[in-house]
């Protein structure tokens, strides 16, 4: 911080400062300092008629004059008593009349309410809640088939390699983009916020994973930073939090769209299992190919062409399917079973619908299609001049036919 003292006296000054100028300068200087929390014991508490509180905060070696202005005093639930140990939030200033430094307090919390971190954490959580950032309806669904996944974590940590390993196994046809940030230490909150901001400027992302591998409670501090939580809430794309700690839920977990206990679990939530999706596609293809292929065989040149293609496709799918059924079965987790059920339902529905709707089924209901040798469908009486030869396609094959006249 670069503070400029507003009291530099030029060498050739014409006159000394007035007392008022010096006090005002000192006040201006002190009031540039940031808001801080101070821990101390209250003594000499008194209330002025104007509603302003005065007291001294002291510890064993020093004391600090404090003032609480009326607006702040009215917000506080009760007047503190002498001897109470408190955390006080405020900023330094100068009382102009007495020329005395004072601490202008806007919050007072008895230390009996808990450790300082716990209190700040609760306050941050309350602030996020007040702004609606914890509301369940804010949670966004993850994309079913992501093509590009951003990962905000340390480039050297286990989290990145865990995510890479899981995604390579389950969904290798995509892209993982590392957005590096230190995830512990004093710089971590700033670096994570910066990484999140950087990720927002990259167009291609479908989903973001933010987190780190397991750590002590202290190591998770960055993910309890209110600014980090707000940056997560502001993300354009859905965020999965992966702060490797089963027990403690961080602010980042609370605002994320989906919470995972570990980076590996986050990766499993981010991508479907390719083997499983392939298996569903294979069974759909088999289904379609069988039913369509059987009828198509006898239904004309165009359909035979389709049947050949489907036959080849079906054969290939069967091989792939049996391979994956064998290897994939053991690996299914509960969550991927649920995802699988969704896909399977959709694919089976499509397969059944396609089969039922096949125009070939119309033939089975007793209709016939008349076609020229070239395959063109004959629709009107004018298409059948006397003596014209054509083919009549019915459900189980075709017959040659000749028109005798209208």
């Amino acid at each position: 911080m670069n503070l400029e003292l507003p009291l530099e006296q030029p060498a050739k000054a014409q006159r000394p400062f007035t007392v008022q100028e010096v006090v005002a300068g000192a006040r201006q200087y002190l009031e540039q300092l940031p808001t801080v929390w101070v821990e101390g014991e209250i003594s000499g508490f008194r209330v002025y008629r104007s509603g302003v509180w005065f007291f001294t905060l002291k510890d064993r070696v020093a004391q600090l004059s404090c003032v609480v202005f009326r607006r702040e005093a009215e917000r506080m639930r009760s007047q503190p008593e002498d001897g109470l140990k408190v955390y006080a939030q405020g900023h330094l200033s100068v009382n102009a009349q007495r020329g005395q430094m004072q601490f202008v307090v806007d919050r007072l919390i008895p230390t009996s309410q808990g450790g300082f971190h716990a209190i700040r954490l609760e306050q941050a959580r309350a602030a996020l809640e007040k702004d609606g950032l914890l509301a369940p309806e804010r949670k966004r669904a993850l994309p079913c088939f992501p093509r590009c996944i951003g990962v905000v974590t340390s480039p050297d940590g286990a989290a990145w390699s865990d995510v890479v390993a899981v995604v390579r196994r389950r969904w290798p046809g995509c892209e993982l983009v590392l957005v590096g940030a230190r995830v512990q230490g004093d710089e971590a909150p700033r670096e994570i916020r910066r990484a999140l901001a950087l990720a927002q400027r990259f167009e291609g992302l479908d989903v973001l994973i933010v987190g780190r591998g397991g750590g002590s409670k202290e190591d998770l501090r960055a993910f309890n930073d209110e600014g980090v939580a707000r940056a997560v809430a502001a993300s354009r794309v859905p965020v999965i939090s992966a702060v490797g700690h089963e027990v403690d839920v961080t602010l980042t977990d609370l605002v994320a769209d989906v919470r995972a206990a570990t980076p590996s679990a986050a990766a499993e939530k981010a991508v479907p299992d390719r083997a499983e999706v392939l298996r569903q596609l294979a069974s759909l293809g088999l289904h379609l190919g069988r039913s369509a292929g059987r009828r198509v065989e006898t239904a004309g040149a165009r359909l035979s062409r389709a049947a050949l293609r489907m036959g080849a496709a079906v054969e290939h799918r069967v091989v792939v399917a049996s391979h994956f059924v064998a290897t994939a079965a053991g690996r299914m987790t509960a969550s991927c079973e649920a995802r699988a059920a969704t896909h399977r339902g959709r694919l089976e529905r499509l397969g059944t619908a396609l089969e039922a709707l096949s125009p070939l089924a119309v033939l089975a209901r007793g209709y016939a299609v008349a076609r020229e040798e070239s395959g063109r469908v004959l629709r009107r009486t004018a298409d059948f001049p006397p003596g014209a030869r054509f083919r009549l396609h019915v459900s189980d094959g075709e017959v040659r036919a000749r028109a005798e006249g209208p």
């Binding site: 088939f145 489907m310 792939v320 619908a353 709707l357 125009p359 469908v377």
Partner: protein, 74 residues
């Protein structure tokens, strides 16, 4: 990114095809065409899944306040 339709797009199109066939107002040629396309879409979806190796990249600040990605070796 690529001109190939995404897996999501393939499945969405399959649903569209089903809806079109359900409407039952199509002539035979058109219906056959859609049926064939349905099969092709299935294959497209499969090819999507068969494709490619996992690609690892890193996002960095770029000059002018933008973001750039570079390939990671691994």
């Amino acid at each position: 990114m690529t001109s190939k339709p995404s897996l999501q797009a393939e499945l969405d199109r399959l649903e569209e095809i089903v809806r079109a066939l359900e409407a039952d107002e199509l002539d035979l040629d058109r219906a056959l065409g859609l049926f064939e396309e349905g099969i092709a879409r299935l294959r497209g979806a499969r090819e999507h899944l068969a494709a490619a190796e996992l690609r690892l990249r890193q996002l960095r600040d770029a000059a002018g306040g933008g973001a750039e990605v570079v390939d990671l070796d691994r």
